[in-house]
């Protein structure tokens, strides 16, 4: 809040499902242009944390501020907030009844009052960026997993968001397709996009992330640069975790 570069300020975020406490008070700041990777053992609350950020899950406690506005407040128009905080899902969640082009243009035209031709022009530009401009009129079912995820990223970009949340974007892909999606994400990171990624791709984290958070039992157990977290882990659980996956 004090630092003018802070885009998202998370304060004592808590989430429980019934008796299960998934997030036990998370406090952190995410700066503009930062590429934050969240790692942790399964069930540690990574995805829940991400989904709380754009209120797909309603937090049970704490606050989230986006550009100083309390996202968790009922007074905040969450639909407006979400438009600057896009999400890319593990299972892509493209709309199967629409063409790729329609998938990319529906939100800008319906929510940002863009004209159809303008939105389509921008969509084609985005598709070119990920090398899929020739599939504009195809339906999602005609695309491979990697292609679908690239389209999903384009769908998020089409709204010109301030930040994109990636929820395990490569976990549902065949191994040979992971690369093409990561390439797009790398390119995006270089362009200065603020990104928060939950991922198991440690290579990506090492190469692209500015910062890595290790979540354990709903708390931040370690927070630092990729070198600090991967090469000089302090937390015991993190050491065990890294020894298992690296």
């Amino acid at each position: 809040m004090k630092d003018s570069n802070v885009m998202i300020h998370v304060e004592d975020l808590k989430k429980s499902f019934g008796n299960a406490n998934v997030l036990n008070g998370i406090t952190t700041d995410i700066k503009k242009g930062e590429v934050l990777v969240i790692i942790g053992p399964s069930g540690c609350g990574k995805s829940t944390f991400l989904r709380c950020l754009n209120m797909l899950e309603t937090p049970t406690g704490g606050h989230i501020y986006l550009d100083g506005v309390d996202v968790t407040s009922p007074k905040t128009d969450i639909n407006k907030t979400r438009q600057s905080m896009m999400m890319v899902f593990q299972h892509f969640n493209l709309f199967p009844h629409m063409t790729i082009l329609e998938n990319l243009t529906i939100a800008p035209t319906k929510l940002q009052n863009k004209s159809k031709s303008e939105a389509e022009k921008e969509a084609i530009e985005l598709l070119k960026r990920v090398g899929l401009e020739d599939r504009a009129n195809a339906y999602p079912s005609q695309l491979s997993g990697g292609q679908k995820q690239r389209v999903a990223i384009c769908r998020a970009l089409a709204m010109n968001p301030e930040v994109i949340l990636f929820d395990e974007p490569t976990s549902a892909l065949d191994p040979e397709m992971v690369g093409e999606v990561l390439d797009v994400m790398k390119e995006l990171a270089k362009s200065g996009m603020t990104m928060i990624c939950v991922t198991h791709e440690m290579g990506f984290a090492k190469e692209v992330a500015n910062r890595v958070i290790f979540l354990d039992e709903g708390k931040i157990a370690e927070d630092g640069t990729p070198e600090e977290v991967f090469d000089h882990p302090k937390n015991e659980r993190l050491k065990t975790f890294l020894s298992k996956i690296l």
């Binding site: 754009n54 797909l56 639909n79 407006k80 907030t81 979400r82 438009q83 896009m86 999400m87 899902f89 299972h91 969640n93 493209l94 709309f95 199967p96 009844h97 529906i106 939100a107 319906k110 929510l111 339906y139 079912s141 005609q142 769908r155 709204m159």
Partner: protein
Amino acid sequence: MKGNMKQKRLRKLFPLLLLVVMLAGLLTGCGDKSEVGASNVKKVDDLETATIGVQLGTTGDIYASDYKETGATIQQFNKGADAVQALKQGKIDCVVIDEQPAKAFVERNRDLSILEEDFVKEEYAICIAKDNDQLLKKVNKALNELKKDGTLKQIIGNYIGDSTKGKQPYESPEGIEYKGKLVMATNAEFEPYEYREDGKIVGIDVEMATAVADKLGMELEIQDMQFDSIITAVQSGKADMGVAGMTVTEDRLKNINFSDPYTTATQVIIVRNGKSATAFDLSESIKNNFITDARWKYLANGLLTTIQITFFAVIIGIVLGFIIAIIRSSCDMTGKAKLINWIMKAYLTIIRGTPAMIQLLIIYYVIFAATNINKVLVATIAFGLNSSAYIAEIVRSGIMSIDPGQFEAGRSLGFTYVQTMRYFILPQAFKNVLPALGNEFIVLLKETSISGYIGIMDLTRGGDFIRSRTYEAFFPLITVALIYLIIVVGLSTMVGRLERRLKNDERQ
């Protein structure tokens, strides 16, 4: 490609062809059907062990049921004509029915006779609601005047008696200023008291009621319905009076008041006399069933009514069904608005848990009891409500079948709940449930065939009506069935086409 199309069309036509072949087979079968022979009822005493056909709720029904104790079997039919048909086919031994309609039946069927021995004599009267003494007094006064000035005799003579028949119809005196309507409930399948001729309801009762109405300075409106619905209609105020060759009985007096009797009638027994029925002649039969008196019009008009009811009921069903489905699935998803959800669930349970026919009768006789509302509208509402419950559950299952990720994707893009539903969930859900919806429309179309229960002349009733005039089951029933079949096949084809078009969207 073209050859392929042709083949497809042929395949579609195949079931129809098969049916035509089956019909032809049936037809030839009808020609040489074996004779059933004479009834074993020769005198009134023989009723003790016979199978007796009666019209449901008539005095014949009441008197015949006394024979149950002695081992007779009573079969109740909705219409006299149905009983007569069953008699012709040997399903029952005799029919107990009023003398005048019996004469009409026997006149047209040379294999039937009336036993000379009368079964029972009775008096016909007009029934009026218990709390409507004012009308009762007026009607009695009018009847008395009509008896005195010979009008009543003239009217009866216009229908009974060889020398006077058709020669002295009642004509309303000139210069009457009509104030209000007098609604008469009847069952126009009881010649010569009330029956349809050239689409109009005519008969002794109709003319007599017109004369009474003229005396009262009111305009007569006739409501045609099942015989056993008449008393309910009068009680509930749907009709002011019931005039349907109705005999005064103790049971009826418990529920309703009767005017002074306006004529006496005799219950007689119709039996098979052993003579062979008129030989079956295909062209004669077609002519008799469809051409004579422009009977095909009953089917054509009935079809229009059926389509009208179905079409508007489908619209009500879809609109209401979608609304309920969306509310239900929203409540289920968010866990909010439990009361509304509960109300919706109760609605669905009630509508899906009771027969459509009962719903139709309740809506007509209970909910709209006091209002004089158009029957077709009532049926449309009833079937629309009925269908809405099924459509709601079909659509809800469609919504539930959509991956929750679709919903999250919509919301995460910044769409509101309603927008997400509209742009992403419902279009997909609709596509998924289209076959089930198509099926529901087919069911609905056929379900409307019970409209006749509140006296609507729909397709089924149109066929029934022809049957009651020609005493032939084959052509009216098969034609009605064929018409339904053709509409259903057409409807299925349309739904199938729509389905394929929507599917093409997603696949290569």
